[in-house]
Symmetry: C2
Subunit: 336 residues, 2 copies
């Protein structure tokens, strides 16, 4: 049985979406057990009358919630009774708890996971790795995408190692094609960090490093993992999402500006619905925080039930594939 | 009369697009004179039989061309007879030449402009500032977008000053809204550079600093200039362009996959043509290299005649608005 602690509060649609997502995941994965953290009374009320395997669900009472506007360090110090901190403490103290899933505050999660769950031995810094859909129907991960903004070469090579193992484990891609985000494809391009990273990544055993990638190629489908510092990674992810969403918004506005467009769009309504679903990051699961002793998945704050279920499944697959152990071994081998 | 040296070679459609663009610009701007650099025989042939004000056109013979694959420093050393270097040397040596326009190699241009034309007194580094269209029908500049990857706080504040003056001078926007690219809107977000930049930009006299901007807001129309280092700026620009182009490509593929979509798209053909034009960076002019003693504009390698004309007009407006002098004064005042 794989046991995951699910933070039932903190997202835009919590606790309903979180609890519905939990039941969806339980139905899909017969060897999954969940510990729902949050206001016990409220969770019990929401579960009342629902059909699910009660033997696989526990509730851990934690009536407080960490807001997205709170300072992470203050939140984890002062809100020990919050749904997020309860999940984190379960992962820290209970050996049978394999990981946590939350759609709440990112900052608080990074601080809590790093300080309380702790890093895998040898890992310098946990790193965030979200997944985006590519135009060829596949996926691409970006590691790091915001957890670490001032980084060293060693951290960057670890991001490559951890991200590659993650893509392999959860998405079943053998020898993921790993690229270094840079401002040109030539080996000599970039700042000091990138110039030293190119030969370092090339020399890494067992890593399928395919060279530099320019930002415009992110969605091309030619790469499985993009490695970068958290600042550039965050810019890469957010500008890509932003541009796609702004374009869809513009299309919508332009469609409504002329009757002929409305007729055309009506005929194409199935296609447009598919484009919208394709663009919806909720369909691709959450960002995982790689390098912690337990599996950590952070879903988007606007996650609906299906998105929460997807995040739980990610955490489940990471545990199932022994990702934490594999990262530990790889980091240890690299140190030798 | 404003005199601009136009590099007639180097782009994908040169010399035809460059020469046609030159004639378009001459027609639009009666007090513009151009020096066309490149193979004199070829240029003369292309001009033969065309109608234009011959008093405002000179040719400076330079038979060589710098390829995009050549090392910038080698190219500027060894190809003194190239169309680009001839334009640069004219700007360097002839006081009556106000600036240069090229659609050739970016690397060679940056190296040549910095080393041969030189920086405005007090400017630490010239910076690239391209322009993107926003979803509200306006524009937004990004400075720096790739000329400087390892930067200091002083460089960043100069990018803000130069970019703001540029947006004001060429686009007529009073008190441009200047934002700092960051991974969150709070003042405390980001790496060491960003944390020190926030208060520094806030304190700058005459600068309308409006705070941090996340990458997803680039096209929102809420900002006139985004200030950042060349690495993140390059990622921001290229991922935004890449995402928009990939989405248009995907739409096109999806339209052709079903007959009903083809009918819908036929009805919406005017709208789709407008979207395509909206996305075409050639309609927004080139990137300007701010901080050089003379006006420097770099158009996209794929520029057509209209795009080349637009670049010439940008250089013309920069000169007309005394941008170089204004930058020099602002930098001097900041040093006092």
């Amino acid at each position: 049985m794989i046991r995951i602690a699910l933070d039932c509060f903190g997202g835009d649609h919590s606790p309903e979406a979180n609890i519905d997502g939990a039941l969806l995941a339980l139905e899909k994965l017969p060897d999954l057990a969940l510990i729902l953290t949050g206001d016990e009374k409220l969770i019990s009320e929401k579960l009342a009358g629902r059909e699910y395997d009660k033997a696989r669900v526990e509730i851990a009472d934690a009536p407080e919630v960490i807001g997205c506007d709170e300072t992470p360090t203050m939140a984890i110090k002062q809100k020990k009774d919050s749904s997020l901190m309860r999940a984190v403490e379960l992962a820290r103290n209970d050996d049978t708890v394999d990981g946590i899933v939350t759609v709440g505050s990112t900052g608080a999660l990074i601080a809590a996971a790093t300080l309380r769950i702790g890093r895998i031995r040898g890992v310098k810094r946990p790193a965030f790795c979200p997944i985006l859909p590519t135009m060829k129907g596949g996926i691409v991960g970006v590691c790091d995408s915001g957890a670490n903004v001032d980084i060293s070469l060693e951290m960057l090579t670890q991001f490559a190692r951890m991200g590659s193992l993650y893509i392999e484990t959860v998405y079943g891609i053998e020898r993921p094609r790993v690229a270094l985000l840079n401002i040109g494809v030539e080996e000599t391009k970039g700042d000091e960090l990138r110039k030293s990273a190119y030969p370092a990544l090339s020399a890494m055993e067992g890593l399928n490093f395919v060279g530099n990638m320019e930002a415009r190629e992110l969605l091309s489908g030619d790469y499985d993992l993009v490695v970068t510092d958290g600042f550039a990674g965050n810019v890469l992810i957010k500008s890509t999402e932003g541009a796609c969403l702004e374009m869809l918004k513009k299309l919508k506005r332009d469609i409504y500006s002329r009757t002929i467009n409305k007729i055309g769009a009506f005929l194409m309504r199935r296609m447009f619905a598919e484009e919208k679903a394709f663009m919806d990051y909720r369909n691709y699961g959450g960002s995982v925080l790689l390098g912690c002793k337990k599996t950590v998945v952070k879903g988007h704050g606007s996650s609906n039930d299906a998105a929460v279920a997807k995040c739980i499944e990610q955490a489940y697959l990471m545990r199932k594939g022994n990702l934490t152990e594999r990262i530990g071994e790889a980091v240890e081998r690299a140190e030798e």
